[in-house]
Structures are given as C-alpha cells and as structure tokens.
Symmetry: C2
Subunit: 214 residues, 2 copies
C-alpha cells in the first residue's frame, strides 16, 4: 500500500496511526501542501483524488480518499487490533467522537481555509489566529464534556483500547499545541492524548518522524 | 425514537431520509437554531448533545449526535433497505463521497460559521456570500469529478439504490439552490439529486414538509 501523505496533515496522521496499530507496512508518497503552489493541486494527484486533499491510500487498483473512510476500510479488511467496538451503540459513540473532530472542528482550520481567509478575505493575521483558536476551543470543550461525563470513557476515548476516536484526537491536539491553544480546560483530552502517545504506533506516526518532515 | 431536528439543518435532513427509507417511525422534537438566541445552545439540549448541534437521535437511554454516526447506527440495527454496499471497497467509496460533503464542504457553510464571519470578523454580506459559494463550488466540482468518472456511479451515487452518499448529496444541493449557487457545472449531481427526490422517502424528509417548517 502507498499512502499519499503530508507530515503535518492531521488527516494523514490519523491514517498513519491506523496502519501502525494494525502492523500494516506501507510506503509514504509525500505530497507537499506548500511547495509548487501545493502539490495536492497537481493534475496527476487530482486524478487519484479529485478533492485535491491528502491523504490518499492506494491499494492495488483502489485509490481511497477521506481519512475516516480509509480507516474503516482498513478495519474491515484487517480486523486485527479493531478500531471500532463490537456493539452498535459503542460504534456510534466512537464514530460520533471522531466526527466531532473530523466534521466539526478540523475542517474550519484546514490549510486551504486559512489561506482563503488570508488571501481572499484579506483578514489580518491576528483575526485569523483568533478564528483558529475559537474553533479549537469550541470543539475541544464539547469533546471534553462528551468524554469527561461518560462512564464509557476509559484509559482511551472508549474503554481501554485505542479506537478511531483516539486516532482523531491525537492529531487534533498536536495541531492545538502547534498553534498555542490553551488546553488547561480539557484535562480528560490531555490525559488520553498522553496515554495514546506512549504507544509506539502513535509515536511512529507523529509528524516529526515522517520521511517528508522538515 | 425522537429526532431533535431543525427543518433547514442539512445534517438533520440526512437522518430524516434514513429513517424514512427504513420505514422507522419517529417523533420530531424541534430545536430552533435562530429563536431564543439558538435553542441548541440551551443547557438542557447541551446535556443531551454537548456539541450543541442538531440532530440528536434519542432511542431509549441512548442519545446520539453526528448525522453520519446516527445513520450507520440505524443501518446496523435495522438492516432492511441497506444504506451501505456489502463490499469493503464499495463501503469505502460511499463513505468517502458522504464525507466529502459532511467533512469538507458542509462544515464551512454551517450557520455558526456564517454567524462568526458576520459578528466576530465583521465581514460584509457580499464577502460572506462569496465565501459560501466558493466552498460550494470547490466541493461540488470535486464531487462531480468523483461521480462522473466512475463506472460505479449508477442511477444514484453508488449503483442503483440510494446509499449514505445520496443522503448527504440531496440536502447539500438543497442548500446550494437556496443560496443561488450555480449548478450548471455539475450535471451528474443534479441528475442523481432529481432521481432521489422522486422517491417518497426523500420527499417526505424535505425541509418544507417538516412540522417545524416556517
């Protein structure tokens, strides 16, 4: 398998953790989001992934976009180290946590959005950073409420083994730290993030450990 | 089951279609996103759904947020009229189409985002509308490329029966029309949307048919 990836992309980071947890070997194909005006916008990449976003997982003839869809595909085709609970209610909870990050929080702070705010809307740097921190705070506060108040939260987001939810949480907290967001109000998230990053599969997926890291 | 819903919420619209396709009776509990400063922000609703977004599906003791997680839960617990293909590659394709809308396009044009642009960033009406149309165009163009070039696209997004992908497409095109977005470049999406809306399950889920429509 080849993973078209950018070291700092949090969507690619999620998939790297999944591949590592399942012990699946893969080749990294770097797609630099800033060089050459954005290598993800090149026609050859768009042919592989019309949304012009990373990651893309290539497995033989199959080219898959969208990190959550890729992870569920890996989970269905390589059931060892399952990334979703076995009961429908638990699966719904894990997917909802993951989607709170992947559908509500992350898209607003994606590179292309920050670029639009700066270049098209001519928003000042300070207002752009306020935007970033606003959505991080709103998103993480609601996640903290979901997790801190649930008896289903364990060492990880759902029980005592990592799931799809943790694969989304860790890259999101990496981004939050990178942009100096205040994490003092989200102790449950910080605790789970630390437990995850202590695992080799999470550690090896970190941006600074990637072949394209700079 | 109760669905906490707002007639114009496209995430709630997706779930309404799923419930109708599966023939599951439910009670609508209206959550008005504009009245009372936003009824979704009320403490009682936040207790049910800490993200303060609609929809929430309540089934006995279970309160579920996130439209895609809810729909997969319904699909797993009520397998008739399946909303995902049976093969992993097909499931990944359907999920990726759905997530292209739910993770990449829709979050940028959500009500809370438009409110932030207007009230916090003090963006002019015209620039706000340009933002809206920009993300609709980027999102729908990439979806059109995904669908028009695939032999797996049929009468619907994936083959000849509606799936999770169609449940996301129809509310997104409803929004695009409401905001006068140009749909001339996306004939495949328009064709599939029409095929969907001809089905009673989609028709009954339309915003103007809801008890809280105004």
């Amino acid at each position: 398998m080849q993973l078209y990836s950018y070291f700092r992309s949090s969507a690619a980071y999620r998939v790297r953790i999944a591949l590592n947890l399942k012990g699946l070997p893969y080749e990294t194909v770097p797609v630099h989001l800033l060089k050459d005006g954005g290598q993800q916008l090149a026609p050859a990449y768009r042919e592989l992934n019309p949304s012009a976003l990373v990651p893309t997982l290539v497995n033989g003839d199959l080219a898959l976009g969208q990190s959550l869809a890729i992870i569920e595909y890996l989970d269905e085709t390589h059931p060892q180290a399952p990334l979703l609970p076995s009961d429908p209610a638990g699966r719904a909870r894990v997917r909802a946590i993951a989607q709170s990050i992947a559908c509500d929080l992350h898209p607003l702070n994606n590179l292309r959005v920050l670029k639009y705010l700066k270049h098209e809307m001519k928003v000042e740097e300070e207002a752009k950073n306020a935007w970033y921190r606003h959505w991080v705070r709103v998103g993480l506060d609601s996640l903290e409420a979901m997790l801190a108040n649930s008896p289903q939260t364990g060492r990880f987001c759902h029980g005592d083994a990592p799931t799809l939810a943790d694969l989304c949480l860790v890259p999101q907290l990496y981004n939050a730290r990178r942009f100096d967001c205040d994490l003092s109000g989200v102790p449950t998230l910080v605790r789970i993030d630390e437990a995850c990053r202590a695992l080799p599969a999470f550690d090896a997926a970190a941006p600074e450990k990637q072949p394209d890291a700079q």
